[in-house]
Symmetry: C2
């Protein structure tokens, strides 16, 4: 019997699924073991403790997040396309973990292990996008009568509520393909019509 990565991966997959649906505290090590089809004691042999499983999951998520961020790097000057691609990327990343990131954000308020894992991730994302918004307000693509932070919040509110409604509340179905989903594009279009500057909006009116 060899030490294959298979057992650890099975444990992490099971933990990801259960943490996403039940939260960290609401998931027992026994449940993880059952779903992974291993003996409970094996969890503790492969990871120091329950928090160790969470940390390994966090490292895996960070790895995938880095991959997604590289894929979303802007290769054109078009603000709309950049934001749409970012929206799809955010949604895809969040759906990939079965809503785990969103669940962990909730759990971070009460579970020390989770809070430690997440650190200050979320506000940083908001700040970065607000800067992006401010730049493109200055260059005229985005309307400038709305605070950049408000715009960034509306954007991330769109992506996070999309995931929350589907993965948490069971409203609607997850998309078969995030990259081409029409519903995502319509949601984004609502945002974009509201956020873009007046001339850009006029151009879009002709397109309709």
């Amino acid at each position: 019997m060899s030490s294959t990565p298979d057992t650890a991966t099975r444990i992490l997959d099971a933990a990801a699924e259960l943490f996403a649906s039940r939260g960290y505290a609401g998931t027992s090590t026994r449940a993880i073991a059952d779903l992974a089809s291993v003996n409970e004691v094996t969890l503790f042999r492969r990871f120091e403790n329950k928090a160790g499983i969470l940390q390994a999951l966090g490292a895996r998520m960070a790895q995938r997040q880095a991959g997604h961020a590289a894929a979303a790097a802007p290769d054109s000057e078009d603000v709309r396309e950049t934001l749409l691609r970012l929206a799809r990327m955010e949604i895809a990343g969040a759906l990939e973990g079965g809503g785990l990131a969103l669940r962990l954000a909730f759990d971070a308020t009460t579970v020390p292990e989770v809070a430690e894992l997440l650190g200050e991730g979320i506000p940083g994302n908001l700040d970065g996008l607000a800067e992006f918004m401010a730049e493109h307000q200055a260059t005229g693509e985005l309307r400038s009568d709305i605070e950049p932070h408000v715009m960034a919040e509306a954007f991330f509110g769109l992506t996070s509520s999309y995931v929350m409604y589907r993965m948490v509340m069971g409203v609607g179905a997850p998309p078969s393909d995030v990259a081409t989903d029409k519903g995502i594009e319509q949601l984004f279009d609502l945002f974009w019509s509201g956020a873009s500057a007046s001339e850009t909006t006029s151009v879009m009116e002709e397109k309709r």
Copy 2:
């Protein structure tokens, strides 16, 4: 020593606060008793069990929700004002419980008592608003190239993410006064600019 409503109210207030911040399962009856400054056994004397506390809270929330809905009844034909008032009402109601409703929506996926309490509340709200949207697409106030359900989702996504960022993730501060908050109005304006029909948008452009 008289049986005043005070003890039960103190218990419910304490439970609301703790359920909102820790979730139902993450809140112990001992913690509720401590926060309410009563002996733990008193909880079981006033409410049959922990789930009974939750049910009493649900009844209280439903009562307040009914009060809010009456306050938001449309008394004009203006769609924008109606939706803005509804947005403020949704946000005020959600903030009032310290984010409890949102927390319970999460907990409903894994805790049977919570799921039973919430029933089918949320999709119903979405459907109702989608009908409202469809009506006003037909009469020309709202653009008609976006599905009504998508519009309704964008609207409730706005309100729920507003609450989530502030009550759960600690991004930004809760408003001092929902009825007059400029941030809420800007967020709504972003939505409205995207959702309204072209002529209405043009009128707004002159206003800017």
